[in-house]
Subunit: 353 residues, 2 copies
DNA sequence: GTTTCCATTTAAAACGTTTTAAATTTTCTG
DNA sequence: CAGAAAATTTAAAACGTTTTAAATGGAAAC
């Protein structure tokens, strides 16, 4: 744990930090007012059977003593934590951090807090986090499945006891509410847009094969081709696994097999932009020689030259809706049903296609 | 809460989700093995006084019954939550989401979890979150102060009872451990780099005046000028408040007053890139006419044209170190002292300067 | 066959809250 | 002013865990 950065300490002030004076409890309030703890508890929770006068006195004393409720105790008694667990493959990533922002918003509007975990796409970390969150830490789970995850049995088993909403990276093996971007239609729109620019072959730089997201975008691409009587050619498809380092090679491979390619649809904006960089390095003009469409409308899309035409899929909205559903699951579980919400996509027409 | 997106539901499968079969407790394990709950508790915690044979039996039964410890109960008894609260102005932002990634890493290595809140730069939300986190939810706090925050008294009071580490957005009014980027030196390096390109005026697009981060970067800029016998000219300084919409106007203002400007140092990469876009729109060549240096080394820095010369300040590292210090504070509070760690910066030389 | 000692196990209390059921006080009715 | 009804408060138990202090049982020592 110790690193060389330890050398960068400078003492600012020569005193030591102290803390954790035992915080005030309900009993303390009761004692100092000469009333019972149950009355204090009820007063604090605005129970109708408590006299207004008493409530006022209790609240005042609570403030005076810096009282704040012990969540562990309250949670133990009520079986509610007012926390939601979030399990994502990666936090520092435009898509997921935006989703998290949306989740935070809705959670906080409803007085819930977010416990956020990052799986690094590892199946075992994912399982460990889910396990830990489910054990009395959270009232429900928001989850986006890691790339690596193969075995859904254990996960489904753990989750069968807990309200959970899956978002973006979903699996039908976990029967619950799913919130996804309109990946299929987005890809369809993107591909159709490329086709509409004129005759020529359209290639696809795909994502990890296992992910439903990639699969749906691939289907959208294929269906758009088919609808325009273009037969799908596997030589025009390369999978980059969300890894930008693989892009130049993938572009080379496609161009070698099909020098006449007129358009590329990439599974996301990062890949699309790497493709643009690779094409520019070859002095291929965009969009005149090859047009490029991405997916996601990342902030870079309007910076890269040419500005990237892409599909916007509103990640914050995905987070908001997923959280909305989870809260509904938690608080009205009677009405809960297995279903899927798809957040609409939109084509953002810029200069790259 | 209901939005039009509710229309996008399609039932997937016609059944309802059920959950929350009462989870197994220590008592259940004890009962099914015919031993006492205390023995079970100790066995699960690998207490040395428990026979190996007993431990094995307990662990097996725990697995069989899908037992997992109730954190609320355990936390209530031990006064430990193994959670760290994180309060940031914004989650979906390259800098903060990267910091969060670093925090998650160190926290998880030490079996801690992260409770993450977003203040949206609002003082009242900040106070509300801190209040709520501190009340028995977390063992300590990682915090980056919101822009709006004026009154540190209440905050300092609440935090005096809890281990807390401030990062990036710090304030000396809260005497504890601070972890910051080397803002002063980074700005100094950036400005010196611009000066070294040849004679000419160097402008600065500054951040929110209240933030120590902005202040330190401004100091670095000024000191680099002074060291090269260039007197600071307020007409070369414009504050954009981290708001990219204000950049074109700020650039115009500076250029109107000083058409002979040869370099611009921006408080962060986003601002720098907006400045580049604004300059390009005026057909000003970068870096030949005006050179630009940013701060942060965001992913866009290597995409924009020309590629942005910038200062890398390693956000994940900031998160890792802050968490490291907080865990130390929590677990060895005797050694705790008020101090500051500064994470080194580095100039990343690309094409814009 | 006691006694001592050691290794294990256990009963019971505690953490701070909420809540059921009962008790107390106040107000109303005639 | 008694008695009923209503309003308000309270005692005590419960949530699931950890932990102190005490108990149990068996082996070793005498």
């Amino acid at each position: 744990m110790e690193t060389s950065a330890d050398n960068f300490f400078f003492g600012l002030l020569p005193f030591t930090v102290y803390f954790r004076i035992m915080p005030a409890t309900i009993k303390d309030i009761a004692q100092s007012l000469g009333i019972s703890p149950s009355t204090v508890s009820r007063a604090l929770n605005d129970h109708p059977q408590i006299k207004d006068e008493t409530k006022k006195a209790v609240r005042e004393m609570a403030r005076k003593l810096h009282y704040s409720v012990n969540q562990a105790a309250s949670g133990l008694r009520t079986n509610k934590t007012f926390s939601l667990g979030v399990v994502v493959p990666q936090i520092s990533n435009y898509f997921f951090s935006s989703v998290l922002g949306g989740m935070q918003k809705v959670a906080s509007e409803n007085d819930y807090q977010l416990l956020i975990c990052q799986t690094n796409e590892k199946e075992d970390e994912e399982l460990r986090y889910v396990q830990s969150l489910v054990s009395g830490r959270v009232d429900g789970l928001l989850m986006s499945i890691s790339q690596e995850t193969q075995n859904f049995d254990r996960l489904a088993e753990i989750l069968s006891d807990t309200p959970v909403v899956l978002f973006d990276r979903t699996s039908e093996k976990i029967p619950t509410i799913h919130v996804e971007a309109e990946d299929y239609r987005g890809a369809y729109l993107a591909t159709r847009h490329l086709i509409s620019r004129g005759p020529g072959k359209i290639a696809h730089l795909g994502g990890p094969r296992k992910l439903t997201v990639s699969q749906n975008r691939l289907r959208g691409y294929k269906d758009a081709l088919e609808e325009n009587n273009i037969s799908f050619d596997p030589g025009l498809l390369a999978h980059c696994e969300f890894d930008i380092k693989k892009v130049p090679e993938a572009v080379d491979k496609i161009l070698a097999a099909h020098p006449e390619v007129k358009g590329i649809f990439a599974v996301n904006d990062e890949i699309a932009i790497e493709a643009i960089l690779a094409l520019k390095k070859k002095n291929i003009r965009i969009p005149e020689d090859i047009a490029v469409v991405g997916f996601g409308d990342y902030p870079i899309a309007r910076i890269v030259e040419p500005n990237l035409t892409t599909i916007s899929h509103y990640p914050a909205k995905i987070g908001e809706r997923a959280t909305h559903h989870l809260l509904k699951l938690i608080n009205h579980r009677e009405e809960a049903a297995v279903m899927k919400e798809v957040i609409p996509c939109e084509l953002i027409n810029r200069d790259s296609a």
